[in-house]
Amino acid sequence: MIVSKPRRLGGWWGAPALFLAPALVLFVVLFAFPAASSLYVSMCRWSGFTPHMEFVGLHTFGRLAADMKFWNALRNNFWIMGAGGVVFFGFALVFAAALNDRDLRGRKFFQTLIFFPSFISAVGVATFWKLLYDSKSGLLNLSLEGLGASPVQWLASENAINAAVVMLVWAEVGGMMILLLAGMRRIPKDYYEAAEIDGASSGQRFLYVTVPMMREVMLIALSLWMIGSMKVFGFIQGLLAPDINDNCQVVSTLQYDYAFNNRRCIFLMGEATAMAVVQVAIVLVLVGIVRLLREKKSVEY
């Protein structure tokens, strides 16, 4: 008996194409095309108001390379990523380790308390901190004055980025703590018991059991922090706008300033998009490095 093969819809590629089409169309329309367009816009002189774009090749990138504001902004992003990251991870890890102790009284309460700022929108957090930091009537300076100390210009250009880092750490540490805590809770108790029997102190248990076992989670957290600190916008804009001093810009706020600045009405869509391209490239490189680290053999006991 001859059994004919079931016919495929439209040949060998028909059925897969049919099922993939909706997703592909969405991907092309909503991602691939805009991304390719951005690459093109980044090489154009364009105010964003007329359909006419003048192709200038890499000229916009050249301008960016000579633009001190951009380098300042990039430096600030890396400062947030580096210095901010150390403080941020430090606190997140300490909080997570402390709250990992199941015998701790009020564990849930503290967990909620630390996580609470993550519920608030960036603008809300920034407005709150702006009021705290205000040098004339902010709570911080009023408290300092009450203690007899001189007021600090928290939002002055030389301090503003550090003030922003403090705010960012306060706002985001809860989310990171939850991630790390989830990672810690996945570590089998037996390892700790074995280490304890072997005479390891609590510090040693943290260093030699917790940290190595958390490597994977920590690398993911690191990726998230790097991406987040590279594209941070709402917190900085909320804290320092409308007139952000050039020394306090980050790439996203400067990009916004170039593309949509409504106070100066100088619209540089080409340069702003070029900045976005550079930003994406930096994120890709950094995430690539983290990925390489992740591919190294993980610790097993």
Partner: protein
């Protein structure tokens, strides 16, 4: 039923409901726009009111919802809608042209004929009703007729019931004659009914970006944009603004040379403006064609002056505000000696105004433009050079005085880290005696002033101090920036939009001046009483400086001048020579690179 199908069904039902609602709304809109037959009770005549093409003007403003300027503008725009609609409708009525007759018969006369029997029956019921029922019944009948697009004018619901009934009988008689074709249709005048609507977009400082997609697509582009010169520059650069001193297509006169329609029609519109303010409507950047044209109708202007708290001045023993810069420094010292901060500010906000005013007083605006935009050098390879150079002794003196304010501790200690509106709060609460600000401070302080006790705060202002040794004309000059409107080339109602601008220029300045303390750009306007301290100096100023480096050198200001100056201003200690050397170096690079064109 699987969940997926339930969701799909819910989605379809929702879409159907939205569509039905939309259609229903469209039906209502359609109904409103039907022609109607109007019976003038006094004249005993019918008119055929034909809806004309509605006039829709889109007005986008840099003021946001709730701002005092917005409230005044909104009120006058509403009045314009009524008055302009009436003015357009008041064009001479004419007999129904033959082309319109079929429409008149189909849309108005035939429905009226059909309504006649019911009309007779209801009118008979009205006649039979008792005196106390007549009024409500007459009104009910009038409403019933109106639903059939037959309107009675020249009387109102408050008229005695007998009179209403008589009018309805006259209407019935006229309608019967008309319906039977005894009255020639020529006796029915056709009147356009014009509905003017102004779509307001109170978009705040975002006005240009908010309308960016509209400019890109060419759809729903605002006819009018309200803003300042920075918005003007951006719009003219992309060729989106209509020059107001060039006739529109098919017209003999430009809008500015046309009559001041809503003010004094016997004079041209341009005569309604203070001339120097109108000149501020020119495109500021050096451009052979655009620079000659006026694109901007200035409606209000602002000046920068020094506001002070009279109570604190009295406490410090100062009986009159300073007139010259040395007097001003002496006042600062005296205030400080009384244990009060002389000045307050929020970081670098308005810090550049110290620079602008002092340079204008000491050197004059032409000199500054010469330094920034340069003058021809006559040397090959170096087309323009700064003249006078930044190293000129007068610049050293000016920036030295600004530094002096900082070094002598004239500003309150916390100013370098405070954010708007902390300085206003500090000023109104009596913790600092003076504040350099734009004239809009009066409006912004309104709330504080009401809250503050008269024993601690009384607002007053004085003109920026004169500079001994400066040119005489610069000492009496005023400094002003303007705010106004531009008409967009891509708008769909350009002519109507110009009427609206003319209307606002003629009508809303009393409210702007007295309610909002805004200085008007119109000749006929008063000066805001709240700015009495600068009124004489401003009104008698032989020159009003309206230009600013941000207008003619925007990129230089954004990238070089302001960042460098702000750093100098905010630093705890800084050297004037270092500042000037830095400015000279960066200025030379800017000019060697072709000035503003170098950024292209």
């Amino acid at each position: 039923m699987p969940l997926f199908y339930k969701l799909l069904l819910a989605l379809l039902i929702s879409a159907g409901a939205v569509l039905t609602y939309d259609l229903f709304q469209a039906q209502i809109e359609e109904e409103r726009e039907q022609p109607r037959l109007v019976f003038d009770a006094r004249a005993g005549r019918f008119t055929f009111e034909k809806p004309a093409e509605p006039v829709r003007i889109i007005y986008a403003s840099m003021f946001g919802p709730g701002e005092p300027v917005m409230r005044v503008r909104d009120k006058w725009i509403s009045r314009f809608e009524e008055e302009y609609g009436a003015r357009l409708a008041a064009s001479p009525a004419c007999a129904i042209p033959s082309a319109e007759r079929p429409r008149f018969v189909a849309d108005v006369l035939n429905p009226a004929r059909q309504a006649l029997p019911e009309f007779r029956r209801r009118l008979a019921a009205l006649d039979a009703a008792g005196a106390e029922q007549k009024g409500p019944l007459a009104q009910e009948l009038a409403a019933w007729l109106e639903n059939r697009r037959i309107v009675v004018s020249g009387t109102d619901g408050g008229a005695p019931p007998q009179e209403q009934a008589r009018t309805l009988h006259a209407l019935l008689a006229g309608l019967e004659t008309l319906a039977q074709g005894h009255a020639p249709a020529d006796e029915v005048a056709v009147v356009p009914r014009v509905r003017v609507t102004v779509e307001r977009r109170w978009q705040g400082r975002w006005v240009l970006s908010a309308n960016r997609p509209r400019f890109l697509t060419g759809r729903e582009v605002p006819d009018i944009i309200e803003g300042g010169k920075t918005e003007l520059r951006a719009l003219v650069q992309d060729d989106y603004a209509v020059p107001l001193d060039v006739p529109l297509a098919g017209e003999a006169l430009s809008p500015l040379d046309g009559p001041d329609t809503w003010g004094r029609p016997e004079r041209p519109w341009r005569a309604a403006f203070i001339p120097s303010m109108l000149q501020d409507g020119k495109y500021p950047i050096d451009d052979p064609v655009r620079r000659q044209r006026i694109y901007f109708a200035p409606l209000v202007c602002y000046t920068y002056c020094i506001f002070y708290n009279e109570v604190l001045f009295k406490r410090a023993g100062i009986d009159r505000p300073p007139r010259t810069w040395p007097e001003f420094i002496a006042v600062c010292e005296k205030v400080k000696a009384a244990g009060i901060h002389p000045l307050t500010a929020d970081m670098e906000n308005y810090s550049e105004v110290w620079m602008t005013w002092l340079v204008y007083r000491a050197l004059g605006p032409e000199a500054w433009q010469g330094t920034i935009s340069g003058v021809p050098s006559g040397r090959p390879g170096r087309p323009r050079v700064s003249a006078p150079p930044w190293t000129d002794a007068r610049y050293r003196e000016v920036f030295g005085q600004i530094r002096l304010l900082r070094d002598r501790g004239c500003f309150d200690k916390a100013f370098a880290g405070s954010a708007w509106p902390a300085a206003q709060r500090a000023f109104a609460s009596g913790s600092a005696a003076m504040m350099l600000n734009g004239s809009w401070l009066v409006q912004e302080l309104g709330g504080y002033e009401e809250a503050a006790s008269a024993r601690t705060f009384k607002l007053s202002c004085f003109s920026f101090p004169q500079w001994p040794g400066g040119r005489p004309q610069d000492q009496t000059a005023a400094l002003a920036g303007t705010g106004g409107v531009m008409v967009c080339r891509q708008g769909q109602a350009t002519r109507h939009a110009i009427e609206l601008v003319k209307y606002l220029s003629a009508r809303d300045h009393p409210d702007m001046v007295h309610e909002n303390a805004q200085i008007s750009c119109m000749k006929d306007a008063d000066f805001p009483p709240a700015l009495a301290g600068v009124a004489d100096d401003f009104r008698n100023a032989p020159i009003v400086y309206t230009g600013d480096p941000r207008d003619y050198a925007p990129r230089f200001c954004a990238d070089v001048l302001l960042p460098t100056y702000v750093e100098f201003f905010l630093a705890e200690s800084a050297s004037v020579d270092a500042l000037l050397a830095r400015l000279a170096k960066r200025s030379a690079a800017y000019l060697d690179n072709g000035g503003e064109r170098g950024y292209e």
